[in-house]
């Protein structure tokens, strides 16, 4: 299809008009979202202050709730992203080789993704119930197959540490198939004869892993880190169901908006979340670049 440089805007409109409703819908919403977020966060509930003002942000930074939510989210992301990568990598390596029923096992590994996040959260809600959920009973040694590790049941949802822990567990369990698929694609793109060659030259499994697999799937690893870190920053469902008072930034927005009725602080949190995402994306991209340079030049 040649595009005539002389084609006027009018011609373009005539050709492309079916596109417009969808484009308008999407971009319209996008613009509205930005505008509203900006307006809301830069104003305050009290009518007395003029627009724009940073008072909402100031209130936010003075709020302990925000502090703990921010810290929680940072820890959540920093711990969760590498864990998701490792989980995905382990599963991908398990199904990389051909074996009896490989297709079936791979399909089974996709199941966590098929289950709605809310259901997974609900399941963990039930399993980690206090005082008598499955997990508490397991750790207390009430099942013969497992030894007793604790002597009083743990209140999973009440403590910050444990609540974050089970949210993370649920998130990683549920999203593992995505990492696995991306990493599997990367693994499959490696010429298998490279492993043969390395073997004949004396490379052990560990050496083959570090010298061949990791450098060659670096793009896949980067994709996983980027995508998963964004997911961690904006996580809502798991902490919402499982962790009540201990909030991440996602549930904090719900707290301010639905709980306190303060749309301005809620919008401010949203803006900060987006900033965090942008910053962490840049950090990850830069780090991957550095790592790539190290591995390739050594």
């Amino acid at each position: 299809m040649r595009t005539d440089s002389k084609e006027s805007f009018k011609d373009w409109v005539i050709r492309a008009w079916p596109l417009f409703p969808a484009a308008l819908y999407l971009f319209g919403f996008l613009i509205i979202v930005f505008v509203y977020l900006a307006c809301l966060s830069l104003s305050e509930t009290s009518i007395t202050t003029s627009f724009p003002t940073l008072n909402s942000f100031k209130e936010l930074f003075n709020d302990d709730e925000f502090h703990s939510a921010l810290v929680n989210t940072i820890v959540f992301t920093v711990i969760g992203t590498p864990l998701e990568l490792i989980a995905g990598l382990i599963f991908a390596m398990l199904v990389y080789r051909t074996f009896f029923m490989r297709g079936l096992i791979r399909s089974i590994f996709l199941i966590p993704l098929a289950i709605p996040a809310l259901v997974t959260a609900m399941l963990l809600f039930v399993l980690f119930d206090y005082p008598g959920g499955h997990v508490n009973h397991l750790l207390l040694g009430n099942y013969s197959i497992f030894p007793a590790v604790i002597d009083t049941p743990i209140g999973w949802r009440s403590s910050n540490l444990f609540a974050m822990g089970i949210s993370l567990l649920g998130k990683i369990w549920r999203d593992m198939p995505i990492s696995m698929l991306i990493l599997l694609a990367g693994l499959n793109s490696i010429d298998p004869e490279l492993f043969d060659a390395a073997k004949t030259m004396g490379a052990s499994l560990r050496k083959r892993f570090s010298s061949i697999i990791i450098p060659l799937i670096l793009p896949s690893i980067a994709s996983v880190l980027l995508l998963r870190s964004v997911e961690m920053w904006k996580e809502f469902i798991f902490p919402f169901v499982l962790s009540g008072r201990n909030r991440l930034m996602g549930t904090l927005i719900d707290y301010y908006y639905n709980g306190l009725g303060n749309s301005h602080m809620a919008a401010a949190v949203a803006i900060i979340m987006v900033v965090c995402i942008v910053v962490s994306t840049i950090i990850i991209l830069k780090s991957m670049e550095i790592i790539q340079n190290i591995l390739y030049k050594r």
Binding site: E193, D196, K199, T200, M201, A203, S204, K207, L295
Partner: protein, 369 residues
């Protein structure tokens, strides 16, 4: 460097047996080629020796030591793959050094070896390039360099020249011969190309469907093919085959075949004189079929085969002629560029009695072996 002994190698894939009771011995420093059509098991055999496939049955001895359960990493073997398997994320230098670094060779020695192999294989100046930046021929040399630098007991080559164009292949064949002469390693080479095998090997192991058909020097295989397959596979253009029976009559011995009467020379005649009537498959190379014309070479023939010319294929300095006799059987023979022949034309041809190979129709074995 070492002798290699394969004893009764067996390999199964489910219900399919790729190799059964395959035995082979290779002398120290020898250049042996495993030659055969696709699927005959030669690559499988090579991979079993390299440790990349399990040995289902039989034993592998290198230098007198049993190697069956030694993992691939520990075998003192280097392999060059058909696709070269160069690490795309490493430079030529790092590719070559890879094996040395793993075996913890001191850096000084590594540099010496690198220097040596780069000069040997004309790779000077390319050390910092990456595989995607160099040509196919250069990649092949890097793969070879990477293998040689490890100083292996045995060098395995899996169809390393099949991705090169004809001209490059010629050069590469000469290179390999030169290197073998220089370095003196035991080499096991796998190919389906008989020209490569014939020009480079000290001995050829001709394989078909997992079986060893013949194992001998190239000249011997060419002159005395052990089975119909050997006659068929070696030699270009391919051998003619005819069915017939031995005919002994008043001092004249020959084979009565579907193409005509093929007279045997005295030596062969003597060997079959007691087998009048025995059914045989007779093989004659196109090179050993002549026609009566101004190039009649053998005067002692008085048995002619009448054919009409069906097709002439120009091969450059010679031409391949396909002729058909009156009962419809085809025969191939060669003529030089000076011979004038026309399609549909009639000719008389005869075969060199000393170069007729006779095979048993059921065992396919050469009856003179």
């Amino acid at each position: 460097m070492a002798d290699v002994l394969l004893k009764s190698f067996t390999k199964r894939y489910g219900s399919i047996t790729a190799l059964e009771n395959f035995s082979l011995e290779i002398k120290n420093g020898e250049f042996v080629t495993l030659l055969g059509p696709s699927g005959c098991g030669k690559t499988t055999l090579l991979r079993m020796i390299a440790g990349l496939e399990t040995i289902d049955g039989g034993e592998l001895y290198i230098g007198g030591r049993l190697y069956n359960n030694v993992p691939s990493q520990k075998r003192k073997i280097a392999m060059v793959f058909q696709s070269y398997a160069l690490f795309p994320h490493m430079s030529v230098r790092r590719n070559i050094m890879f094996g040395l670094k793993i075996n913890k060779i001191p850096q000084e020695q590594i540099n010496q070896k690198l220097e040596w192999v780069v000069n040997l294989l004309h790779l000077k100046g390319l050390e910092e390039r990456y595989p995607r930046e160099i040509s196919g021929g250069q990649r092949q040399r890097v793969a070879l360099a990477r293998a040689l630098v490890l100083d292996p007991d045995l060098l395995l080559l899996d169809e390393p020249l099949s991705n090169l164009d004809a001209a490059l292949r010629e050069t590469a064949i000469e290179e390999l011969k030169r290197i073998h002469h220089h370095v003196g390693k035991t080499i096991l080479y796998v190919t389906h190309n008989q020209v490569e095998a014939m020009s480079m090997s000290e001995r050829i192991a001709l394989m078909n469907f997992g079986h060893l058909e013949q194992y001998d020097r190239p000249k011997v295989i060419y002159d005395q093919p052990k089975t119909v397959f050997c006659g068929e596979f070696i030699g270009s253009p391919p051998m003619n085959f005819f069915t017939g029976e031995i005919h002994v009559e008043s001092g004249v011995t020959g084979i009565m075949t579907n193409i005509g009467y093929l007279k045997l020379d005295s030596e062969r005649a003597n060997k079959v004189k007691d087998f009048n009537g025995r059914k045989v498959v007779a093989g004659v190379r196109p090179q050993n079929v002549y026609f009566k014309g101004h190039h009649a070479r053998r005067r002692h023939t008085d048995s002619d085969i009448e054919i009409s010319v069906e097709l002439i294929e120009n091969l450059g300095d010679r031409s391949l002629v396909i002729g058909r006799n009156k009962s419809g059987t085809l025969i191939r023979f060669l003529i030089t560029r000076d011979d004038e022949i026309q399609i549909e034309g009639k000719m008389s041809i005869f075969a060199d009695g000393r170069q007729i190979h006779l095979f048993d129709p059921s065992t396919r074995l050469n009856i003179f072996h």
